[in-house]
């Protein structure tokens, strides 16, 4: 017996076409920057690798020590983890003689939650354990909602959410921009601990203005840089290096609230190359195209009821 090619193709073509529906059909889920968003501007050229930000972060958030390097006398993690919310990593090349030079040089980079404009973790979490504050834009975690599925960790392009693998009652752990301090009118601990002004805290729109200002600076000259907060009156004078003409986080992956500036290419510093459109938006787009208002499923369900009833009738005949 030959399968009616028509029936066969009819059944499949429909679903295939629908699944491939162009994005234009669905309402755009692109997120925009919140006007009062808070964030951090990290300038790798000002960072001296002192790790005061790591110490301050651990203190402010009551995080335990982590020994994963060869030295065990003090806290020295090799990466973010369930015990470390913020880390300074070091890039080395060749003889590593000159700071902030790509070849035969070294540089530092700070890794922490980027508090994205369109966070993948917030989109991914099935139980709404990751939420983005509607005013400050800080992405925080609620362990009472979390089921521990770790989809947030899979989804995050920066690999930020970390899991407590050694705990029978585990949580997800990540930087929350010290929102417990922000609520009291203070600033993130990493920024207040930074001596050189490499990490500064403040409203995102001010941070972007400051980042643009630095892009216009002439390498080799001395300029003033604010310390701890972008609006701080305490300034440090530093000699400016040749910045990469790019503010990381301005558009990457839909944009973030943590900006990075450096003199070494960002991909060498371990930061991923991301398109301007967040992957979360792409995934949500597919979902919304297919399931918005559950219209399509209900229609298909109706069609299926009809088909099943018909086939049952045929069976009886």
């Amino acid at each position: 017996m030959k399968i009616k090619r028509r029936d066969f193709l009819k059944g499949l073509a429909g679903s295939a076409v629908l699944a491939m529906a162009p994005p234009a059909i669905a309402a755009s889920s692109e997120k925009n920057r919140l006007p009062d968003a808070l964030g951090i501007l990290y300038d790798a050229t000002l960072c001296v690798g002192c790790q005061a930000c790591m110490v301050a972060c651990k203190k402010a958030n009551n995080m335990p020590m982590e020994f994963s390097g060869s030295q065990r006398q003090w806290d020295n993690p090799v990466d973010l983890s369930s015990k470390t919310l913020n880390i300074i990593k070091e890039y080395e090349n060749g003889t590593a003689k000159v700071k902030d030079r790509e070849i035969d040089g070294y540089a530092f980079i700070k890794r922490q939650c980027m508090h994205c404009v369109d966070p993948a973790c917030v989109s991914a979490c099935p139980a709404t354990a990751m939420t983005k504050d509607p005013k400050t834009g800080i992405v925080s975690y609620n362990k009472d909602a979390c089921i521990g599925c770790r989809y947030c960790a899979v989804a995050c392009p920066f690999d930020i959410p970390k899991f407590e693998w050694d705990n029978p009652f585990p949580k997800i752990v990540k930087c929350q921009l010290c929102n417990h301090l922000v609520a009291k009118g203070q600033i993130a601990a990493c920024a207040s601990g930074c001596p050189t002004g490499a990490s500064i805290f403040g409203p995102v729109k001010d941070l972007l203005i400051e980042a643009e200002r630095r892009q216009t600076m002439i390498p080799g000259k001395y300029y003033e840089f604010p310390v701890a907060e972008v609006s701080s009156t305490k300034k440090e004078v530093h000699k400016v290096k040749q910045y990469i003409p790019y503010i990381y986080g301005k558009n990457d992956g839909g944009g973030t609230q943590t900006f990075m500036m450096a003199a070494v290419p960002f991909n060498k510093l371990g930061l991923p190359t991301l398109p301007d459109r967040s992957y979360a938006a792409m995934a949500e787009n597919i979902q919304h195209t297919l399931y918005k208002g559950m219209i399509l499923p209900i229609v298909v369900f109706g069609g299926l009821i009809f088909l099943v009833k018909r086939s049952e009738k045929n069976k009886k005949e």
């Binding site: 009616k4 770790r150 407590e164 009652f169 992957y279 009821i305 018909r310």
Partner: protein, 375 residues
């Protein structure tokens, strides 16, 4: 015989007992997981938060359980009543596949005592692909048990209840086609959000389409495998003619799938990655060769009459679909920063234990419940 009957026979066969032993040992590892945490039993880490249990037990496990779905499509959507005899065994395999995938989920999630949160409306995140998968799978498990209830009711002679169930069954049959379409495709969409961490060989916005088509032909392949295996050891009615037709359908589906797969890869400009000779390229070639070869074999009509050929082709297709899902979820996934992952002994043993439980249940069901038609 034209009706389904229990195959009878001894339950405590060597196979059954060995599976039982494996399951009992795996219980020890499961206990360790709950007492000491996931890190004590698994090799999952911050770079690979999802490992064997998600990739194999959940994603592949539910895909292997698409036999019921694939057969329902044929019987009810394309109105091919002649395949009816294959529906019940397929349904049973689906039942096991999905229920035990649920067990694996409970084992895998970290905060399992709060797992019900995703069923509470005030916790649901409508944007989350995983939520949709979880709700659909949860609903589908219920639908499967309801669809399967007539078989139980027959055994217990509850004829009135059985008649009632048969009257309202059409709703659940319709759901049983809608729900897998939704969640099997969404299991593909789950990995869309990982764009920067998934190799271009597997990342595409067409992941839902590829996952859906592959789960359908996988469903047919599972029916062929399972029917052939049971047929080679138990005195069941010879379904090889039907299996031959299904094999033909499979071949066409694979053809469509391969066209979409390669066209998409070519249009995105990453075809060259397949031939780099590295692990990823080779896994891609493996995954597709395991499809191309059986497809070519099954396009030859004579082979569709040969039980051995059909069986081996179906096995190859099952492996291909499994490798595809392994590739998408683990092997093609690279979070960067030097992470590696390979399942630990404990992880493998727990998966093995779950599969052993499945085999034990399968053997018990076919012998004590009317699933197959006797020869």
């Amino acid at each position: 015989m034209k009706t389904e009957q229990p195959l009878e026979g001894k339950i405590l066969t060597p196979t059954f007992l060995i599976c039982g032993l494996i399951f009992l040992i795996s219980l020890i590892f499961m206990g360790k997981r709950f007492i000491y945490g996931l890190g004590a039993v698994t090799n999952m880490n911050d770079g690979y938060p999802w490992g064997l249990w998600i990739a194999f037990d959940v994603v592949i496990g539910t895909a292997l359980g698409c036999g019921g779905y694939a057969m329902a499509l044929l019987v009810y959507v394309f109105n091919k009543g002649e395949y009816h005899s294959l529906v019940r065994p397929a349904l049973m395999t689906s039942l096991f596949g999905y229920t035990l995938a649920g067990v694996a989920v409970v084992l895998d999630v970290g905060r399992y005592w709060q797992l019900y949160n995703i069923f509470l409306p005030w916790h649901m995140n409508a944007s989350s692909v995983l939520l949709e998968v979880a709700l659909c799978v949860g609903a589908y498990v219920a639908v499967l048990w309801i669809e399967f209830s007539p078989t139980f009711l027959t055994k217990f002679g509850a004829d009135n209840a059985k008649a009632f169930m048969n009257k309202i069954m059409f709703v659940f049959i319709a759901l049983g086609i809608l729900l897998p379409t939704m969640h099997q495709s969404s299991l593909g969409t789950v990995m869309v959000i990982t764009g920067s961490k998934l190799s271009p060989l597997w990342w595409t916005r067409l992941l839902p389409v590829l996952f859906l088509i592959s789960c359908i032909f996988l469903g047919y392949a599972i029916v062929v495998v399972e029917s052939s295996l049971t047929g080679s050891r138990f005195p069941i009615h010879d379904e090889s003619k039907l299996l031959g037709k299904i094999s033909g359908i499979m071949a066409w589906l694979i053809a469509i799938y391969l066209v979409i797969r390669f066209a998409d890869l070519g249009m995105r400009g990453h075809l060259d990655l397949a031939f780099k000779g590295d692990l990823l390229g080779n896994m891609f070639l493996l995954e597709n060769l395991l499809l191309i070869v059986p497809m070519a074999v099954l396009f030859v009509p004579a082979n569709r009459k040969n039980q051995r050929a059909m069986f081996l082709c179906a096995v190859s297709i099952v492996l291909a679909a499994a490798v595809y899902r392994f590739n998408t979820y683990i092997i093609g996934f690279d979070p960067g920063n030097g992470w590696h992952y390979f399942p630990s002994t404990g992880e493998i043993f727990i998966s093995l234990g779950i599969v052993s439980l499945e085999i034990m249940a399968f053997l018990y069901f076919i012998k004590r419940l009317p699933i197959y038609r006797r020869s």
